[in-house]
Symmetry: D2
Subunit: 445 residues, 4 copies
């Protein structure tokens, strides 16, 4: 049976809805989508928070990757419905199901606190996404195969950007795709950061397919511009917040210490669900048992570890007592960074566990990016214009990395009140000698 006739026969008699605080309702009109949502691999995303350590700075941001996945699906559905209705000549309705499935499943490989976890345990959520879709073991794979034996491959190829239809690929992954549109709206809603909001309904009115991909009607210029600025604002004010990065660094050092102890045979308790990861031999099945709660449970147990470093770091993460930071200029301040790390190390702290640099950076938009297609505006006569050539705001943000470099250290070195215990005074002063207005400075003397 071809995809198209499957699509028809698969339609639900009564559409099913999920109430969503961001999009009002998520509308599901295919049994296939409903079954994917009900699969254990998608349900697992309920137990993984969308924003990792950002929840420790913006306490409202406790939403899961499950919510986000439904949101990406819904935005895609609205676009695809509109394409079906308004652009029968430019859009292939046979792409409907593969696009919706890719939208729903694009984040399915994520694990707990992905960014940090992947660095320490050398996993890769993108590769795992593909594995979950293609593996014979998963419910997701079995459901997708109901369409055709090749359908899982098609869905995976959208996510890996190898699908032959550029429109489908760009809807799911470009510089203005359904993924980004949902996470900006959603993260803005849950953090309370109003600057993340942009006019989604206007963008959904001006988006359209053309031969080589997705474009936006020229009169939608300012709505797209506003989306790019909103994205920039969210990175600057929310995603790069130093306190969240302090929690990330603390988690990083904690997992690093646990792994170190494991390999020294000194980790107690060894938390069985994590062993495959310490061994770097985890199977897909091992991975699918992980979630935020599992990792945090290990950390709860480690607060009572015999290793003083591990137990302290575990407590710091669990009870939100992150390392604190100062800004530095890469290159220029590297020497001072090492001096400061040594000052910390001279006390009872292990320099490698209690200091760490962390860099944040985002490219708000770039017209010459390889991995993500640029944003095209389209005139009524079909002429295309790349947005940064007509928008001074977009041009000002284009191609420039934004973000900063920070050195994280125990808070005693940065907060006067705490440091005023005699034993620290000397080191505190030595440290502060290099700090001005929250940044590393080259002292004059």
């Amino acid at each position: 049976m071809c995809v198209h006739s499957f699509e028809k026969s698969d339609r639900l008699v009564n559409e099913k809805v999920f109430k969503d605080p961001v999009h009002d309702y998520i509308h599901v009109r295919h049994q296939l989508i409903l079954d994917l949502i009900d699969s254990k691999e998608v349900q697992r995303l309920r137990r993984i928070k969308q924003l990792g350590t950002t929840q420790f700075t913006f306490h409202g941001a406790e939403h899961s990757r499950f919510s986000h996945s439904l949101g990406v699906y819904e935005i895609t559905r609205r676009i695809v419905d509109m394409f079906d209705r308004n652009y029968p000549n430019d859009w292939d309705p046979g792409m409907r199901l593969v696009t919706l499935c890719a939208a729903l499943l694009h984040d399915i490989g994520h694990g707990p606190f992905s960014h940090t976890f992947e660095k320490i345990f050398e996993t890769d959520h993108e590769a795992i996404t593909t594995d979950i879709i293609l593996s014979e073991e998963t419910e997701v794979n079995a459901i997708l195969k109901r369409v055709s034996l090749d359908f899982p491959n098609q869905v995976a190829s959208v996510i890996t950007k190898q699908h032959s239809n550029p429109q489908v690929v760009q809807l799911i992954s470009s510089q203005i795709d359904a993924d980004r549109m949902d996470y900006l709206q959603r993260d803005a809603f849950f953090t309370g950061a109003t600057y993340g909001a942009f006019d989604l309904s206007r963008i959904l009115r001006v988006i359209r397919p053309y031969k080589d991909g997705i474009a936006f009607q020229y009169q939608g210029l300012h709505a797209v511009e506003d989306y790019i600025v909103s994205r920039f604002q969210m990175y600057m004010q929310v995603y790069f917040h130093p306190a969240s990065r302090g929690m990330e660094v603390t988690l990083d050092r904690l997992l690093y210490r646990a792994k170190q102890l494991y390999h020294e045979g000194a980790l107690f308790p060894v938390f069985p669900l994590l062993v495959p990861f310490f061994e770097e031999a985890a199977t897909l099945s091992d991975y699918l048992k992980l979630d935020d709660g599992v990792l945090q449970t290990a950390i709860i147990l480690w607060t009572e570890s015999d290793d003083a470093y591990l137990s302290e770091l575990a407590g710091m993460f669990l009870n939100r007592k992150p390392l604190k930071s100062v800004v530095f200029e890469k290159g220029q301040d590297d020497e001072i960074v090492e001096i400061l790390r040594d000052i910390v190390g001279k006390l009872s702290y292990d320099k490698n566990l209690y200091t760490m640099t962390n860099s944040s950076s985002d490219l708000p938009y770039d017209y010459k990016l390889k991995s993500k297609t640029p944003i095209q505006l389209i005139h009524s006569d079909g002429t295309l214009v790349e947005i940064s050539t007509v928008s001074s705001i977009v041009k000002s943000l284009s191609g420039i990395l934004h973000g900063d470099h920070r050195l994280f250290v125990p808070k005693e070195f940065l907060e006067k009140e705490i440091a005023n215990i005699n034993m620290f005074q000397e080191e505190y002063d030595a440290f502060q000698h290099y700090i001005k207005n929250g940044a590393i400075t080259h002292p004059k003397d």
Copy 2:
């Protein structure tokens, strides 16, 4: 040092704010409050969801008891600030700190999926709240004692409603208290259920202290009325949703089975953090290690249990495949309920593990309730009027229990498509014989 002078000296030079999606900002102006928020017992609330199994019906409702606790604190702070400013004769400013602390800490004893957990393991979150405040072991207790040795007792007495100042007690616990005001607004926001919204800013304008407690200016009648209706709506449409209760019942049966197996020596893996609870000998320290993630981690492990019942129930909970339900009339339908349970039991299901009744009920308002004072309106000349005497809407809801009784069974007995496997057809028909429009009916023949 008296509370009052402590309060003055404890003020922060620069107030600290937390961005909140519901109240915009949470304003903290005392070091004491800041330190309580930073205590490990309050931080633990980040890992416990406010609405338990409701998250499985309204996927946006993933917010924690931590968020709610900050919200209750903030509403209380706004009221107390206004009382300080506008009612110097009717309100004792010395009550400020104890009220704010009680607001922040009122839910600190909650554990994972409290409702179900407490039933199976015979714990009591209210008693634990008091324990946490009074125990020498906790950070919360140590922080509170900075005010005075007796201060923890004072805070606890507000929560247990034994504090001598009725105004303070009613702000934290009455039929229209800061707790309810926050959870209605917050749960409405995160579920997307607009009917939960009421005019909080108007209520905060008309609330006022009087000699025996808290009252509302008469002209605020309709705002209070609207709050009561909103609360009723949230119970009917959100808190009592059958799907959430299906998940609750599933969790109940799962924990019941695990405990049963533990006492038979047949539970593998025994999850160490839960042992004290199976033994019904948990200490405060044991309790404070629990959170949603810990409980869910045990359930993840149990999906691989040798006990087929436990592993199936664990999978049902984890992957959101709840028992489904029909409504019945207590008393009138009890016999049929037993007939239906027997039909289920005749198949491969254990009747006690796969069927269960569950009753929901709420009193939206009651003027003669013992535990919670009624809502008083106050005229400009000081005359009090109990609200149900002047509002026909409130009168219509007053004193009447709302909710329903439901019998939960495996979904095969309620969903035609699934049941159309031959082996079930007979039992399915036998079961359906008693069902009409989602409720138990007395068959005519």
Copy 3:
């Protein structure tokens, strides 16, 4: 050409949208609707405010009947689109255009401050609505006739509730129609009165056609309930506000005086556009020249009238200095009302121009109302249930008139500070003798 083929040929190639702060976008998909919106009779509604004197109490409520008319159209369009898609057996798609036109035009006969204007000048906006639709003189009539010669009649018959299709009639005029749904949402939005908001998107999901009209799926019970309560709240808190009624009474007395002077030949300036109304001989063309601005311009001119009463009343209305009021019980307090009016009259005020009683009353819902059909809930098997039989809240509001009776007088008699001028003291005291807590009271002595 039949309506159905007209409808097809009339579709716009590109739909046209109007940005709306309440419904986001108003979507227009027919040339006919676009032309009606562009007609001079519909454009005139831009110059007539939706809420009359309510703008003087809630300053945000400055929106026009034009906005509201677009909103009613849009809600109707969403419902009709859904009916076309989901209920092909229960809904006749040939009713599409007549329903949309009736929705857009239902208020087209309104004039400035209708309520007051009609009382003084004996006009009737409902009759004028029909006239505008049927008269050969209007652009609206010419546009409607493009469908068929009889089409204006059909549209008018929906508004007069004589159309043969009860579904169409009930969508436009029942106890829960598109008109009410828009004005509640819109008036809540512009006044800032959050209690007027209800879950419109949920109601639009559960509304459905059945043989004899419109019903709501049973599971939508609480959403409909919430709509009824919201409506009740808007009446109590917004539409019946005493200050707005004070402005209405002031306007009433002012127009009354102008008419009186006109008939005495003593009105200067005679404002030509109003002459046909003083003469009670206005044509449709005269009526269509009226709007808020025209009436207010007359009042501006009258502030310089030689007649001291007219100039004072004109100034009071223009500069928002309304008569103030006390509540009274009809029947019981009538005698005192007359005593109080006499006290006012004894001073330099004309009793008939400076005192007036005003009664507000609304029936939030009534199952036995003749003019508006009751609200039916429908079970999945088609059984109908009238809502007040299953909702205690609705029952409590059903069939009961809510509102109050007020006596309006110059504010000097009600505000102490102002009255403390010696010359009034005696009368002020005499008046106040009968007043307690803002209501008439029977003095004890």
Copy 4:
């Protein structure tokens, strides 16, 4: 009595609030402010719409200058309250009243459709604002003099930027003042244009006084940046909308024609309230009788003028049939503009009445502007930084005029369907020869 003791004695026992859809409540705490709001000059602003002809493009934008004036007052009050509380050393509390009064009264000189009216009748709303405050005839002046005889002068000097305290001046008039903050939020709310929203509560947290004016805490950089971008967006998408400008041009030509006829003695009816303006001899009292309704009433009367041009233009304005436009480049396309005007003139249209060019332009931000101080960020150590030196977005917008030039003509020349009447075909083609994609183009031949 000095201002300070007046301020104390003038406080209301119970604050008075106005419900506002944008700021929730407007809080009034002084009798002086209440009386100013109740003055006839401020009440008159209820009858003048904030956005003039923008209402014809965004139908929700029907709010008045009265609403906006209350909003500017409220934002100023919140800032001043915070300055009083947090910056006793940097802010003079004696400036409270003069700042609040200036905020409330800053727009009091506006008339109907100011922009166009002032051009035709050579009035100046800024000069009139000062007149109203200083003239012995006005209620506003009398109320202000209760503070001191010199107080009206002080208030006026804030508005004319001559007040000696730069903080007060900058709060009311700078590149980020209370006026702009209110109108962006308010216009975004009423138009439905979400891009106009910015994080007002965050900006109100970081604004602060310093010696030479107003600055923003450095950490508020992105909030200020977002405000500048929002302002830019509102100009591009709302204020400069071609349809609104089409209505403005139509009004301009209509008033021009009326004035022309008046001076030829050929205007019938002569609308008496406008005569002083035709004569360019209007007094303050004449001016204060004008409002939107008065002007529209004249236009209603002129639809029946004997002059065909006037009656047609009046109908076009009243019934929203504006002239339509094409973009052109100033300088480069001037010749073609004249060619096109001539083509229009060759038909029955008067070239001067039916064609007109209109230029829109805004400077979103400029650090070297004379009339408005630049935006300063302030470090914790008091160092100031001008915002465009640290924000690439602001830099990209700084000092550049945005907007466009448009030629307005009868719509027949731009809309094919209409033009397809034979008589126009030739002129239509001649006109279109120079047009491509909505802009003037130099034809190749």
